[in-house]
């Protein structure tokens, strides 16, 4: 993230983020391969299916951890505002999409995309927010 550049809390965030992304990739491969090769059923299928969601939730947790650890209150404020932009943007897009799905029958929005939409809005909001304070 542009605003989180060179302090210890930001560095920890980046490290944790990379680890979480790697875990996400690993669990995703495990889940895909598991379903292709072993065709699990019952509780095992449920557990395997939600496995990649754990690191995804972890991404939110490490962002929250960053906010808790960030000592620079301005950077923390940018992080919080960016998170609100992410939430607001995601709710806006998914709500509008939902109405369009219901009434105009556009293509169904894959719920897997919602998390990505959130991070896109969060990431895009940071340079905009920083520009406001220049």
């Amino acid at each position: 993230m542009k605003c989180l550049t060179s302090n210890p809390a930001a560095r920890r965030y980046y490290r944790r983020f990379v680890v979480t992304m790697l875990l996400y990739a690993l669990t995703l491969v495990l889940t895909i391969r598991g379903f292709i090769h072993y065709h699990p059923t019952g509780p095992l299928a449920w557990m395997l299916a939600v496995l990649p969601a754990i690191p995804m939730i972890g991404m939110l947790a490490i962002f929250a951890l960053y906010l808790a650890e960030e000592k620079d209150e301005f950077q923390r404020s940018i992080g919080i505002q960016a998170m609100l932009c992410g939430i607001g943007g995601t709710l806006t897009v998914t709500s509008v999409w939902g109405f369009l799905e219901d009434f105009v029958h556009i293509r169904h929005l894959d719920p897997m995309l919602i998390f990505t939409i959130f991070w896109i809005f969060l990431g895009l909001s940071i340079p905009v927010l920083l520009a406001r304070y220049r």
């Binding site: 605003c3 550049t5 060179s6 302090n7 000592k71 620079d72 209150e73 301005f74 950077q75 404020s77 920083l130 406001r132 304070y133 220049r134």
Partner: protein, 65 residues
Amino acid sequence: MKNRLRVLRAEREWSQADLAQRLEVSRQSVNAIETGKFDPSLPLAFKLARLFEIPIEAIFSDEKG
């Protein structure tokens, strides 16, 4: 909130980066405070007052910046 940070900093010939280092914040934070776009918390305002060795009211005033 209006403040005299830029003047106080200039008197000491400190750059924004120098002040940021002394306050242990980012240069962006100093700039945002200096331009009156971001109001610091009370602990940071006290830190600034201690650093410049003047009362908080001599740095900040509640007029619009």
